[in-house]
Structure formats: structure tokens, C-alpha cells
Subunit: 152 residues, 2 copies
Amino acid sequence: MAAHDELHQEVRDRLGRIDQLYTRGRQAIVDALVGAGTPLTLPALLEQAPDLTQSSAYRNLSMMEQAGVVRRLVHGNDHAHYELAEGLTGHHHHLVCRGCGVIRDVTLDRQLERSLDAAFSRIALDVGFRPETHDIDVYGICADCAADCSAD
Amino acid sequence: MAAHDELHQEVRDRLGRIDQLYTRGRQAIVDALVGAGTPLTLPALLEQAPDLTQSSAYRNLSMMEQAGVVRRLVHGNDHAHYELAEGLTGHHHHLVCRGCGVIRDVTLDRQLERSLDAAFSRIALDVGFRPETHDIDVYGICADCAADCSAD
DNA sequence: TTGCATTTGAGAATCACTCTCAATAAAGTC
DNA sequence: GACTTTATTGAGAGTGATTCTCAAATGCAA
């Protein structure tokens, strides 16, 4: 409860920094993303929060992405997925199912993350690139799709 | 030269496996991707190989992706980038510039890759996910964009 | 409440990409 | 080479996720 209120306050602050109000519709988006616990496509988001309309949802997701509240994930030709930004949820990566497209959050242990950051910093320095964040996607087949395939 | 011929032969084999010919236009695409040495958007590909037409290029890239010859990279709302598949070039990752969108290939040392694979396998096992490949994108600012920013 | 600025909603517009189908090139046969 | 058959190409129409437009609704200050 307290954590939930803190989250909303943090979102309100981040929106305020770019002169945006934390309206009812925007709160509904954040609640849906929190409730799902997994990145949602826009149609899935509208199912979770039926009061939202498509155009406003897209507009608000885009604005909240700029505000550092939402992250947009793109993995192909179909709908993008949206989740809360890492600043609100913590650094993590994704398992992406090639079958159904579902995305699942995972974390690596600190030591491995440190090794990665060190490696990227070293590589980046060589080519004059200033690294900010990294994003690891593991592609494969989820349990549900594996079951479906063997059933066929 | 020999390496170049071997590459083309390997591409021809991979296309043959799905009953596709290695036509002049398809060779031009592969040559352009080899020549660029960095992932290309479709407009950039057409610049490199002006004899190609848009619809055929898209159709052939899509088919060659299925054949395991080409990989399609998606990083936002604009054009996707295309490069030769890892089976032809070796496993690598990408530095992606937030400023201009340019993508640069990088490799991690074997030991770190092994650690990552082991970590992903462990995580995946826990959730019943069968990992196949992984893809690491490092987002940041390239040298050219950093120079432009400080010039402003 | 009254006024002013921001946000919303419905639908039109955009644009990367895919599809269609007649014209063309490739591969095999003689 | 000429002929047949099959696969590919090119130009433009179509698709669909996302963005834009603008009048109506809402939020906020006094």
C-alpha cells in the first residue's frame, strides 16, 4: 500500500518535471502496468483498463515514456509492449517467446551485471561511444508454446 | 576473395534449403550488407545498391531472414536495420546510438558469453523457458553525436 | 461559478512494410 | 539458340500499428 502510494507519487513527480498532470487516465495506465506484472501490448492494456481509449492511451504512453515513467519494448512487427521504466521497477531483462510473443522479466545477479557494464565500458571507450543503458533479450520458447508444439 | 566466394556459396546453400534461387538481386543485397559492415536500413540499402527496388528488397530480406541469411533488428519506430545472420558472421551484439540511430557491432569475450549463457539457462529452467539466442543492445551516444551535442 | 489551459476521444492521416498480379528472368530440354 | 515451365521481379495498391487533428470535456485557480 505504502509502496503503491510512493510509486504514484514518484510518477506524479516525474510527470510534473515535464509539466504534465497525473490525470485519472494516466493513473489507470500505471495501475494496469503494475497489475499485469509483465509488459503489455496496447490491446492488452485496453483489456485491463476498459475505460481507456486507444488514442489517449497511445498518447499518454508516449508522453510517459518521455517522462521516464514508461518503457516501450519493440520485438518484431506486431504491437509494441509497454512496462514501467526501470527507474521505477529496477534494472531487468526479458525472455521473449518466439511462439506467442509473451515477454517475461528476469534479473541477472549483480556480479554478472557488473562484468557486463565493465565490458561495455571498455568496448565503448575504444570506439568513442558513451554507454547509458543496456538491454538483454533472450529469445526462445515459453513453457506454454513448448506444450502446444509437442501436442501438435 | 575465397572468403567472399565461400560466403556466397553458403548463402546459396541456405536459400536452396528452402527452395529459393540465389538471384542477381539477392546477391546484390548480400553484397551491400557485406560492404556496409554495419546494419543497414532499407533506404540505406537501396542507396548502396541502386538497382534494387523497394518491394523486392523487402520481400527478399524477409525471405532471407527465414532462410537464416539475414537478421532484422528493430529499435524504435523508424526503419528496421538488416545485417547478415550470426550464422554467417559470428555471434555479436550492438551499440545503438540514441541520437542518430546508427548501430555498431561489438563482441564480448568468450568467458563473459559463457557466463551469460549459463545464467540464462539457469533462469530459463526455473520458469520453463527454452532459450535459443540472446541479443544485447547497449544504448548510448556515439562519438559523432557527442561532438554535435557539445557543438550546440 | 467563471474563465483559461490542458487533456480527451473519435476518426482521419501517416508511413513502414506487405500483398497483388502482369511482365520478366532463370533453369532445364531439345 | 528457341521453347517450356516455373520462380522472381516491379509498380502500385493495401494493411495495420501508431500518430495527428480539433472540437468537446475536464482540471485548476480565483
